[in-house]
Amino acid sequence: MRKLVIIPAYNEQGGIKKTVQDIQAHAPDFDYVVINDCSTDDTLAVCRKNGFHVINLPVNLGIGGSVQTGYLYAYANGYDVAVQFDGDGQHNAKYLDEMADRLAKEKLDMVIGSRYIKKEGFQSSGMRRAGIRYFSGLIRLVTGKRITDPTSGMRMAGRSVIALYAKNYPKDYPEPESVTVALKKGKRVGEVPVQMNARTEGISSISPRKSVYYMIKVSLAILIAAVRGERV
């Protein structure tokens, strides 16, 4: 069983070292790869200096294109399991084994690390929680499945979802849309309760100004994914 951690990193010079060390210490069964999305800070230099395995994108592709590069790598190198893991210290590697166990035991295609099952750890702001509940409801409406944390960036995929995402992955704000696509394709998706940390490094990609675009774009993307259904 070969397992890979995909760490998309854009300007994460402050958090990347801690993230990789966390994985090495708490999830030693996992290989990892940092996808440097053409950072303008010293992310690449920090990775090289510490001897981290890093794939360097020559132009900035955004979060979707970076994560997809990780899935392409996982697919080409025959990994059975690939998990996305933020490079800014929000995620905890100690949950990775539990997620992998769940994936294997229940023969799931995908496992999401959810903040909202036990409601412990960093819970995000009230506005964001309302947005997340809204997406959760929308996904339930179009797929009939309940996903408590559709925006979680901590997601583990089995071989079939790796193949799916390597072929097709949304470009920006990809999480809720890609879960919907997986569910619509009949993939089995489970959730494991995790605690996340408030971000210590970097800034959120979703500013208030962008949140309007975010809500509209992701809603539309979910609806289109629902209509598209089995195709693609």
Partner: protein, 123 residues
């Protein structure tokens, strides 16, 4: 429409058409993109030389002023062209993304192979 305006418009159009053809000749503009522009130029040139066609068309469509028809069709054409261009940009974005990803993965594979070759030399 008086003759002066007709000549003025015709000169402008011919100049524009020559410019487009020259861009294609210099391979600065793909002929597939030039075709739509050349077609529009040719159509407007015909309407300019034979104003009667336009008068008949306007009457046929029930539009009051010929100039309104020109604006309307010009606007429709511009929108269509813009839409086609955004479709092309989307496709190119996807192509570029794939190329960047493949390149990054290849670079990684080459580095790995080189690294392993170096290690073998050490042993």
């Amino acid at each position: 429409m008086n003759l002066r305006v007709q000549v003025f418009v015709a000169v402008m159009l011919v100049a524009a058409l020559l410019w487009i053809v020259n861009m294609v000749r210099k391979e600065a503009l793909d002929i597939r993109f030039a075709l739509s522009w050349l077609t529009v130029g040719a159509v407007v040139l015909v309407l300019d030389i034979f104003p009667g066609i336009m008068d008949n068309l306007v009457r046929l469509l029930g539009i009051e002023l010929p100039v309104n028809m020109m604006f309307f069709f010009g606007f429709c054409f511009t929108l269509l062209l813009l839409f086609i261009l955004t479709v092309k940009v989307s496709r190119q974005e996807e192509h570029i993304k794939r190329l960047v990803q493949e390149m990054a993965l290849l670079q990684d594979a080459v580095c790995k192979e080189k690294g392993e070759a170096l290690k073998e030399n050490d042993e």
